[in-house]
């Protein structure tokens, strides 16, 4: 654990490294990215064990979702890096071509990444990949709610990545507060809206730009005409991952009233297929991260006015909580108060698609809107009448696999983009440039004082460009 006093020193050292130009070279950055991939490969057993200990995370989930994509994206970023760093020379009007307009890609500088407990590997190293690629130096502050994992990072990261440029700083509120008192060139925060406001407030004092990857209640709308059985399977799969503790977990489901029971039966069927002996002791189902989250979830369940159709067993000592499915949930219910972030699936019956859309629009913009429909006009309607970070049809969770899509929130679910080049761009300053030739002086002469009437006329011609008519 870093003591508070060393935190400013760490930041200053990283700044000095940045200023020294160490991270400038592309081969150097590529090497760091390969080292990141090596670390994920070589240390995978330790990482899986740590996540099993902290979160009861099934090994398959770690390998498939966390390590696999970290390795792949680190390697792909290294491969694409030469293309990304190239200065742009945009196409401009003829008169400006001799000015050599250029957009340099410059690293922002020394940055802070704060990652959460739920997908700690991916949500630490995905932003870090972009920051390394961009040429920044970095402090990574993993979550204290996954202590085994965070401590492991403090040990293994310096073995693979250059500690002059990348440091892991552990701690809880006091250490995080200290970090936030300092100036950074970008802060990348993944977590919840309440803490995001604290981070944003601290950043405001230094005019630090930010990325906020938050959550919210990601709704699922089911079109009655869609294959309810398949929808149930795909929704359940998304919900059960990490015991529902994901920002993009399907939070609650909106379904036509007359299809509710069919949906419930489909959920029950697929649940039994996923967990023949139930989820409580299944190695394929994760644990709740902490006692306080466990209490939060059981308290929400105790207050619901909906009807429980699948009652999850609970084990407080081991922080295990099976999935509970509740139907006939109405607006105002405890299960609709806040992001569930846990193994609870409320079903809200509606009488029309209109009602479903209104329900969603009456609430904060979600990180993702899920919808199950094959109907083109339903899809178009949902695309144009709702707002969300992303919109996913006919599956859950899979959008995270698409590294060409910008992953982002909107409104309460945050702002700023990530994945692959989007992460690189997040940590990059677009530095515009022109280079005015001496020879241009002849053309520029008319701009200098004093201005003759002819000069004024010539230079103000732009004001009187003919305006196209408005079409009716």
């Amino acid at each position: 654990m870093s003591t508070i006093a060393t935190i400013p020193k760490i930041r200053d050292a990283l700044r000095a490294t940045f200023r020294s130009g160490l991270t400038h070279s592309i081969p150097w950055r590529q090497h760091q990215l390969y080292q990141l991939a090596r670390m994920a490969q070589n240390e995978r057993e330790l990482i899986c064990d740590a996540l099993q200990k902290d979160l009861g995370k099934p090994k398959t989930e770690v390998l498939a979702n966390e390590l696999g994509s970290v390795i792949k994206r680190a390697l792909k970023s290294a491969e694409r890096l030469p293309e990304w760093v190239k200065a742009e020379h945009p196409e401009v009007i003829d008169r400006q071509k001799p000015w050599n307009p250029t957009i340099y890609k410059a690293p922002k500088g020394t940055v802070l990444i704060i990652s959460p407990w739920n997908f700690p590997m991916m949500l630490s190293f995905q932003p870090l990949t972009g920051a390394i690629a961009a040429g920044c130096t970095v402090v990574l502050k993993p979550s204290e709610l996954v202590p085994t994992f965070s401590q492991l990072l403090e040990e293994i990261v310096p073995k693979y990545l250059d500690p002059n440029a990348y440091r892991v700083v552990n701690g809880a509120i006091p250490e995080t507060t200290k970090l936030l008192e300092l100036q950074w060139d970008h802060i990348f925060y993944t977590g919840n809206g309440k803490v995001a406001r604290i981070v944003a407030s601290a950043a405001a004092k230094h005019l630090t730009p930010m990325t906020l990857e938050l959550g919210g209640k990601s709704p699922v709308i089911i079109d009655s005409a869609y294959d309810i059985d398949l929808a149930a399977k795909r929704i359940l799969w998304g919900k059960c991952h990490n015991a529902g503790q994901i920002c993009v977990a399907p939070d609650y489901v909106l379904v036509q009233r007359d299809k509710q029971d069919e949906l419930v039966r489909a959920f029950q069927k697929h649940y039994n297929a996923f967990f023949p002996k139930g989820a409580l002791d299944s190695p394929s189902f994760g644990s709740i991260v902490s006692d306080s989250h466990y209490k939060r979830l059981t308290s929400l369940l105790s207050r619901t006015k909906g009807e429980t159709v699948l009652k999850g067993r609970a084990d407080a000592a081991r922080k295990r909580l099976e999935l509970t499915i509740v139907k006939d949930v109405a607006g105002g219910d405890s299960l609709l108060e806040e992001e569930l972030f846990g193994p609870i699936l409320p079903i809200v019956p509606v009488d029309s698609l209109d009602q479903a859309v209104d329900f969603v629009n009456a609430r904060s913009h979600p990180l993702v809107l899920y919808a199950f429909s094959d109907n083109e006009s339903v899809k178009q309607r949902l695309v144009s009448q709702t707002h969300s970070g992303g919109i996913v049809f006919n599956d859950t969770f899979q959008q995270l696999a698409v590294s060409e899509l910008p992953f982002t929130g909107v409104g309460e679910s945050g702002y700023g983009y990530q994945f692959m080049k989007y992460t690189y761009d997040t940590f990059t300053q677009l530095r515009s440039s022109i280079d005015m030739p001496k020879e241009a002086e002849a053309n520029l002469a008319v701009r200098y004082l004093p201005h003759s009437e002819e000069a004024v006329k010539a230079l103000t011609a732009a004001v009187y460009t003919p305006i196209p008519p408005s079409r009716s």
């Binding site: 200023r19 994509s69 869609y226 049809f393 698409v402 899509l405 280079d435 004093p450």
Partner: protein
């Protein structure tokens, strides 16, 4: 002149509700609607150019040339540029994806962020209001404009003309000072675009933090100039620098703030400035025939006067104060870094020259300050140029010129560090107010489902092996 009538708080809240409601109804979504509003912006400027020029004369003593080149011209051309590119900017993107996902119809939709707020400053009150506004319209947002109360004639005219030309349910202008701005900042916006000072920038960012509102901050700072006496045409450099400096009496965010030059070239530079000075103002800047903007108000006038009296450098050209808040542009030599002139952004007609040993000393001084909006470098030497590219940071890096970069719509205009974040001009204005919404559509067919079977619990050993493949990827030896 009659003072501005500020918008009452109750009305500000109502305006915000109305704009939010209009957005929710989807009125600003059709591209045809946005196109029409953008053409109306262009018409507003063309049809009222005389009145706009008069307002700039009243507020800032601007010569018609200095009203048209930097303000009226760009407003019309930006609006028309947006109209021309509206379809292109708004087209959904279909990125190329890996083969196994090729049937998911991966798309990035361009969607408006929603209801936005744009706060603009007094120094270029028209162009700095309208250019971000054009981005907001093109993006499909509804927008409240809050122009500066320090440029009263411009603000009043904006408030009068906007509702005449544009849809008042979607776009509004409010007037006010600190109290009204504070109230507006307490409301929920989907983006706040602020152009102004660093200190107020902090207040804006702080207010935005409470609602997790994304922000663009176009701030200022002390934009340095380096004149490489060893390798540049000093006469041309001096002329281009002075031209930039005297615009709006130095009251521009991108004004060259101070000049570094090698010690041995300081006199030659001063002579070159003198020559340019005399060519711009043969009768002196304060003469009634001369074109010279004035300082915006008494407070800033006194501030500039005080700087001139407190500097430990030598005023070698200009610096005389005149009536009507005018001050002759002043060139001051032998200025050191701890001089009163270097305490903060000058934002006035004073140009300090700081002699240095060499380019490395200049770069070291620049690195020790906060990140400027622009660094100007006058040099033909590639090595010197690369030093600035690699060892300095700034929003923009401009070689052998001042100002012309803002005419290039294809390069983003924005700061870094204390000079702000985010950018605009051209498509960048559109992007500032746009949310990129990712979309996939996963097929329901048996083939896709079969392919994905291994992902469902209970997790099996073969599934584990399958998903562990990436773990065995070959890492290059580098």
């Amino acid at each position: 002149m009659a003072s501005l009538k500020y918008t009452p708080k109750q009305q500000l809240t109502e305006i915000h509700s109305r704009l939010s409601q209009t957005f929710r109804e989807g009125r600003t979504l059709p591209l045809g609607y946005r196109r029409k509003q953008l053409l109306q912006v262009a018409r507003l400027v063309q049809e009222n150019s005389d009145a706009i020029m008069a307002s700039l004369k009243a507020d800032l003593g601007r010569h018609p040339f200095e009203a048209t080149l930097p303000e009226l011209g760009p407003m019309v051309s930006s609006a028309l540029h947006a109209v021309e590119n509206l379809d292109k900017w708004n087209s959904p993107e279909k990125p190329q994806v890996e083969a196994w996902r090729s049937e998911w119809d991966t798309t990035i939709f361009k969607t408006p962020k929603g209801t936005v707020l744009s706060i603009s400053p007094w120094n270029f009150p028209w162009v700095l209001t309208i250019l971000p506004f054009i981005g907001a319209i093109a993006a499909g947002c509804t927008c409240l404009i809050k122009p500066s109360e320090h440029a009263q004639a411009s603000a009043a005219l904006l408030a009068k003309l906007i509702p005449q030309y544009l849809d008042p349910d979607a776009y509004a202008v409010c007037l006010g000072a600190v109290e009204e701005t504070t109230h507006v900042l307490s409301l929920k916006w989907d983006h706040i675009f602020y152009t102004g000072s660093t200190s107020v920038g902090r207040i804006i960012a702080e207010a935005a933090a409470k609602q997790l509102t994304p922000v663009t901050l176009e701030l200022g700072g002390q934009s340095p100039v380096f004149v490489d006496g060893d390798s540049t045409n000093i006469e041309i450099a001096a002329k281009r620098i002075l031209w930039g400096k005297q615009q709006n009496a130095g009251q521009v965010c991108v004004a060259p703030n101070h000049v570094f030059v090698q010690e041995e070239h300081q006199s030659a530079l001063v002579e070159a400035f003198r020559k340019a000075y005399d060519s711009f103002w043969p009768m002196g800047p304060l003469d009634s025939s001369s074109e010279m903007a004035r300082v915006v108000n008494a407070r800033h006038y006194e501030r500039n006067k005080s700087l001139l009296s407190r500097t430990k450098g030598k005023v070698v050209i200009g610096g005389q104060t005149g009536q009507d808040l005018r001050i002759e542009p002043a060139i001051i030599t032998g200025v050191k870094l701890d001089d009163p002139l270097m305490e903060e952004e000058i934002f006035g007609p004073i140009l300090p020259i700081i002699p240095v040993a060499n380019v490395d000393a200049a770069i070291s001084h620049i690195q020790s300050g906060s990140t400027p909006l622009v660094i100007y470098v006058f040099t033909e030497n590639e090595e010197t140029k690369n030093k600035f590219v690699e060892r300095t940071q700034s929003g923009q890096l401009i070689l052998n010129e001042t100002f012309a970069q803002v005419a290039v719509y294809e390069i983003p205009f924005g700061g870094q560090g204390q000079s702000g974040y985010g950018s605009y001009l051209g498509k960048y204005s559109f992007d500032a107010f746009t949310h990129q919404r990712g979309y996939i559509n996963v097929p329901a067919d048996a083939r896709t489902e079969g392919f994905m079977q291994g992902r469902y619990p209970p997790y099996s050993a073969p599934a584990l092996t399958f998903f562990s493949q990436a773990l065995k990827a070959k890492i290059p030896d580098a």
